[in-house]
């Protein structure tokens, strides 16, 4: 092991604690008995679609539009997922289809 295990444990606990605190912020702010402010309730209701859009972009963040073939496999596969889902509306089928498509593309067609 590259470092002492006591020190490793300290870093692990730090990461665990900070991650938990981040996830707990809304509950620390609004979870104590009294009613949540209207604005927070409103945000909680409408944020999920905005977060989902952000997460899709986050997943595709390492695409370089100027470097061939970076991003082609991703864009095709996202298209396959969306197409399958609009057609059949079967969550598992859409995810499996898109993932298999992506794996085939980057392992064979766009293999580095």
């Amino acid at each position: 092991m590259p470092i002492k295990w006591e020190y490793a444990l300290l870093l692990i606990l730090t990461t665990a604690l900070v991650t938990l605190l981040i996830r707990a912020v809304p509950f620390l702010l609004f979870g104590r008995g009294q009613k949540m402010p209207d604005a927070a309730v409103y945000l909680g209701k409408i944020l999920p679609p905005a977060m989902m859009a952000t997460l899709v972009v986050y997943c595709l963040r390492s695409i370089h539009l100027t470097q061939y073939p970076s991003g082609i496999a991703e864009l095709i596969s996202v298209g396959v997922v969306a197409g399958l889902h609009l057609w059949k509306r079967n969550t598992l089928l859409s995810i499996a289809g898109g993932t298999v498509c992506y794996m085939l593309l980057i392992q064979n067609v766009f293999a580095v």
């Binding site: 092991m1 590259p2 470092i3 020190y7 490793a8 300290l10 870093l11 692990i12 730090t14 990461t15 665990a16 900070v18 991650t19 938990l20 981040i22 996830r23 707990a24 912020v25 809304p26 509950f27 609004f30 979870g31 949540m36 604005a39 409103y42 945000l43 909680g44 209701k45 409408i46 944020l47 999920p48 679609p49 905005a50 977060m51 989902m52 859009a53 952000t54 997460l55 899709v56 972009v57 997943c59 595709l60 963040r61 496999a73 596969s77 996202v78 997922v81 969306a82 889902h85 609009l86 969550t91 859409s94 995810i95 898109g98 993932t99 992506y102 794996m103 593309l105 980057i106 392992q107």
Partner: protein, 234 residues
């Protein structure tokens, strides 16, 4: 009762492959960096944060400082601040399980929980708890397997992590169908894309989310007019 377990399992199924194989990738990385199996297990049990765990391997290997580690965690996981907002009341109603629900609110679990509809005829609290537990079980199993037997998988799994992207795309489309106002989805998409192009892949997510939240707060009246037509659902 059985149907709730079945429901939760089916809901968590899209996360299974992504988490198992990402977990394995993490375990292999830990093993290659020279860390024991129990440490991969411990990290997946108490940290439980996808991309941050990969960064943690680097931090551990280089013996980074506590402050540096805390700062990196803050930066990488900041987006999680917003997840709880949608679940404050629901988690509070879950009693002791509330703590675990907050702790286990990863990108993927959050997304799947968002897709649990009140119309689905199951015990909602139990279903949400089981989804959270199943998801972490996949992750932990992958991490331990990767750290223990890493690298001897019988087939090439390169690209299997795309299933997480696919999961987000599917839930995005589902929400698009059910939401009356598309402004949240559209502003999230435009803001994230704009900030990605502007700031690059490492630092765009927090500024992008702050702008999105600001836009949504400013457009509150407009969005509420649209959504309240169908009655106060949820």
């Amino acid at each position: 009762m059985k149907s709730t377990v079945r429901y939760a399992f089916l809901k968590s199924l899209p996360v299974l492959f992504g988490y198992v194989f990402l977990g394995i990738a993490f375990g292999i990385l830990m093993q290659q960096a020279g860390f024991p199996v129990w440490m991969s297990l411990l990290i997946s049990l108490i940290v439980y944060a996808g991309s941050m765990q990969f960064v943690l391997v680097t931090l551990l290997s280089s013996g980074a400082s506590v402050v540096m580690t805390a700062a990196m965690t803050l930066l990488i996981n900041s987006r999680h601040i917003f997840y709880g907002l949608s679940f404050v009341e629901k988690f509070k109603a879950m009693g002791k399980k509330c703590f675990y629900m907050i702790f286990s609110l990863t990108d993927e679990t959050y997304s799947v929980l968002c897709s649990v509809r009140p119309e689905d005829k199951v015990d909602q609290k139990k279903a949400m708890f089981l989804i959270a537990v199943f998801d972490q079980a996949y992750w932990v199993a992958g991490a331990v397997a990767g750290a223990a037997v890493g690298g001897i998988l019988p087939f090439d799994t390169t690209g299997i992590d795309f299933s997480m992207t696919a999961l987000f795309v599917v839930i995005f489309l589902e929400q698009w169908r059910s939401e009356k106002s598309h402004l949240p989805a559209v502003s999230g998409l435009i803001s994230a894309t704009a900030f990605l192009l502007l700031l690059g892949p490492d630092n765009f997510i927090l500024p992008s989310l702050i702008v999105t939240v600001t836009i949504l707060l400013l457009c509150r009246r407009k969005i509420e007019e649209k959504t309240e037509v169908r009655g106060d659902a949820d």
